[in-house]
């Protein structure tokens, strides 16, 4: 089941660059929340702070608190524990090129020492079904490399890989921006189904996409969160002038 995320006074830096400034928001459980804004506004940094991937960059720094289902991820947990609970899908599909489709999905479990083969088989099948890829790959699971799939299939493979470790939250950083329209719509359908089981945070440049898949939307600009509200309100009657300018295409 998904859990809610409570972000309080979150600040982040890359070197001296203050990329996130005083972010406060509540991301509801089992909903899809979209983050929009122009390039470089801090959306990606923000999602990377939710699974502590931000700090894999040695010059990065974070202050403030992020609570996932009550757990303060910066004070009370190690990064590897957080990342098992918070899955992530990246902008460009990044399957492990030397691994089979099966091993790609099982990677998160296998590399963390899980070796019950029977259970793995079940988890791989379920994850691939949940990511709507099973029918396309079930005959080549152990024969083909993850890199041999098409871009859209690779991205769904990456989603399956993230789901296999049974996370509570799924972060998606522009998951469809490198894909064609058909693959994009498959990913969007997927988000729609997955939010019953997971809390989803999706960064997107595509405002129609945000409107289609998300109940809540946050607008980021220059490292600050300008507005956070129901998607309907953001796109029809935003309270901030800057949000309105952005969604009507006046900049960004």
């Amino acid at each position: 089941m998904g859990v809610g995320i409570e972000v309080t006074n979150l600040n982040a830096w890359y070197g001296t660059n203050h990329t996130l400034q005083d972010i406060n928001l509540h991301i509801p459980a089992n909903h899809a929340t979209a983050l929009i804004g122009p390039s470089g506004c801090g959306k990606s940094t923000f999602v990377r702070c939710i699974n502590r991937m931000h700090e894999t960059n040695p010059i990065a720094r974070v202050t403030g608190s992020v609570r996932i289902g009550g757990l303060d991820i910066y004070a009370d947990a190690k990064p590897v524990e957080i990342r098992r609970r918070v899955g992530m899908v990246f902008q460009r599909p990044n399957p492990f090129p030397t691994m089979s489709i099966y091993d790609n999905v099982a990677a998160g479990l296998k590399l963390n020492g899980y070796s019950n083969r029977h259970a793995l088989d079940e988890i791989v099948e379920r994850s691939l079904k949940d990511s709507a890829l099973w029918d396309e790959v079930k005959d080549d699971l152990k024969k083909k490399s993850g890199a041999s799939l098409s871009g859209g299939q690779q991205q769904r493979l990456c989603i399956a890989r993230a789901l296999a470790v049974d996370p509570e939250v799924l972060l998606m950083d522009e998951p469809a921006s490198a894909l064609d329209p058909v693959s994009t719509s498959k990913i969007e359908d997927l988000i729609f189904q997955l939010k019953s089981q997971y809390t989803i945070v999706i960064v997107t440049h595509n405002m129609q996409q945000a409107a289609r898949v998300a109940e809540k939307t946050g607008f980021f600009l220059n490292g600050r969160m300008v507005e956070f509200d129901s998607t309907h309100k953001i796109f029809t009657n935003p309270s901030d002038k800057r949000t309105e300018d952005y969604i009507t295409g006046r900049f960004g």
Partner: protein
């Protein structure tokens, strides 16, 4: 633009294209020519002396017909095995450190610089080093000291290729592993190194092929041996050493054997490298990059 001018331009373009292609073909020919020439000459000079005895017998005294280099082939295999056991793990380990854990640190820069210097050290100096480190304290020449000298020579090549191959693994692949909650060390070993493994194996093969033909480091260490020996603690024969000794001798018999030995050495290196390539490529999946 007029039609005539256009026509002229496209002709010039086609001419340039052909010219550059011809240059590329010429360069390729120049690269391959020495290899083909050497190999052809070796076959011409050495193939006639190759027979079963060459692979089954040990050297005979001067004037006695026949004899072979079976002991030198075995000796080279043992020396290279010792060298690989020493050079491959240390080299790969060093390369992993340089690329993954020490990136940007002073120690890593020092290690990288040392490896580059080590790569440029003349091979006879490696032999002297192994001589003073192992032969002198032990009081006798040995296969072990020869293998160590060759192994040390392998380290810098293996280390630097490993580092370069690991650096080529896309950042996205590392991130994918970390984002799954895989600890960094595990991600490095199971994901990054595995992704780079074809290149790392190529590096190891290069180092292997290079030291397989080395003579100088063995002169003060393995020494050579006219008899069967497989003991690490005794002097041992090696193909390059045997070729060197035979080639320097004044006897035509031995000259012919030296040519045959050189041919066998090259063929064995090619066979060993191809075998490793075949074995390691069997597990590669369809479409893997």
């Amino acid at each position: 633009m007029k039609a005539g001018e256009n026509n002229l331009r496209s002709k010039i373009r086609a001419l340039t294209d052909n010219g550059v292609t011809a240059l590329a073909i010429l360069a390729t020919a120049l690269v391959i020519a020495p290899l083909v020439a050497i190999f052809g000459y070796l076959i011409f000079k050495g193939a006639t002396s190759l027979n079963l005895a060459f692979f089954t017998q040990i050297p005979k005294p001067v004037g006695v017909a026949g004899g072979g280099m079976a002991n030198a082939i075995l000796g080279s295999a043992i020396l290279l095995a010792v060298a690989s056991v020493l050079g491959v793990p240390i080299g790969i380990g060093g390369g992993i450190y340089l690329a993954e854990f020490g990136r940007g640190t002073k120690l890593a820069n020092a290690v990288r610089f040392t490896a580059d210097v080590l790569n440029g050290v003349p091979s006879i100096v490696m032999g002297l080093a192994a001589y003073s480190l192992i032969v002198l304290p032990q009081g006798h020449f040995s296969a072990l000291s020869g293998g160590v000298a060759l192994g040390i020579m392998m380290i810098p090549t293996v280390c630097r290729t490993t580092e370069e191959m690991l650096m080529m693994v896309p950042h996205a692949v590392r991130e994918a592993a970390l984002a799954l909650g895989v600890p960094n060390w595990r991600s490095v070993l199971s994901i990054t190194v595995r992704t780079a493994s074809p290149g790392i194996i190529t590096g190891c093969m290069l180092a292997f092929a290079r030291v397989a033909g080395e003579t100088a480091p063995l002169i003060f260490t393995a020494l050579g041996n006219a008899f069967w020996s497989s003991s690490l603690n005794q002097p041992i024969a090696a193909l390059p050493l045997q070729i060197w000794i035979y080639a320097q001798s004044p006897y035509d018999d031995w000259h012919r054997l030296a040519w045959a030995g050189a041919l066998v050495l090259i063929v064995l290196i090619v066979v060993a490298v191809s075998l490793v390539r075949y074995v390691t490529s069997r597990g590669v999946l369809k479409g893997a990059s």
